[in-house]
Symmetry: C2
Amino acid sequence: MVAKNKQGKRIFLQNEDCPIRNVVAQIGDKWSILILFCLVEGPDRFNSLKSRIEGISQRMLTQTLRDMERDGYVERTVYPEVPVKVEYELTALGKGLAKSVWGLVSWAETNHEEIRKSRQSYDQNSQG
Amino acid sequence: MVAKNKQGKRIFLQNEDCPIRNVVAQIGDKWSILILFCLVEGPDRFNSLKSRIEGISQRMLTQTLRDMERDGYVERTVYPEVPVKVEYELTALGKGLAKSVWGLVSWAETNHEEIRKSRQSYDQNSQG
DNA sequence: CGGTATCCTTCGAGATACTG
DNA sequence: CAGTATCTCGAAGGATACCG
């Protein structure tokens, strides 16, 4: 499962060994980047994240944090207080990811309006 | 629908006006980036792309190309020969996107192995 | 050659209820 | 507080057949 250039040379994989699929597809989900950028500011707790990211369900916050922990982007620390307190913090890997995603995000912010206009004009022309 | 920092300041939207969701979520799908990088090398035809991107179905190639055309990343040109020839080519916007995605992709390639190891160790520890 | 149209399965993700 | 367990629904995407 590979993509090739015109000379037939493999350019990258798309299976489970593919860096793109393993990184981009993972953080391309609905919530990962939002969580990533919340945690860039510093460690935060479960319910604080939940309230900062409007619209996320408890289930998806838990699941996305677990996936990010599994990938090594996030470290989870439990403080055995009563009631229990759990903090999530970016690892060095997570900070590196955030930094490298930032270029794409700022490009998106810069070009968002042009993209929106392109969609509008495309949708208008395909009405007739 | 916004994410906020700890002071309650909005940091970005997650609804239809959100640059991140509108760009990252779109190209975070299963095929967009693969197509994007195939077209970075130059214009290409439908069936050529189909054979270069192993595993993609005709349906998904069409659909993803249409979405990319709608966003303004790709320009579609029909040559009324017999049989018909259709070429897809990156626009300036598409080239800009490719360039800004490249940073993330190369980060992914660099750190892919570390991520893989993190997953392995996470999965081992959660077995017991 | 370059598509559409249709069917069908899988998976992401919201809602809700319960727990240490 | 910080989760887990189910249920459910809609969208994503593969397979297949047909078309200009």
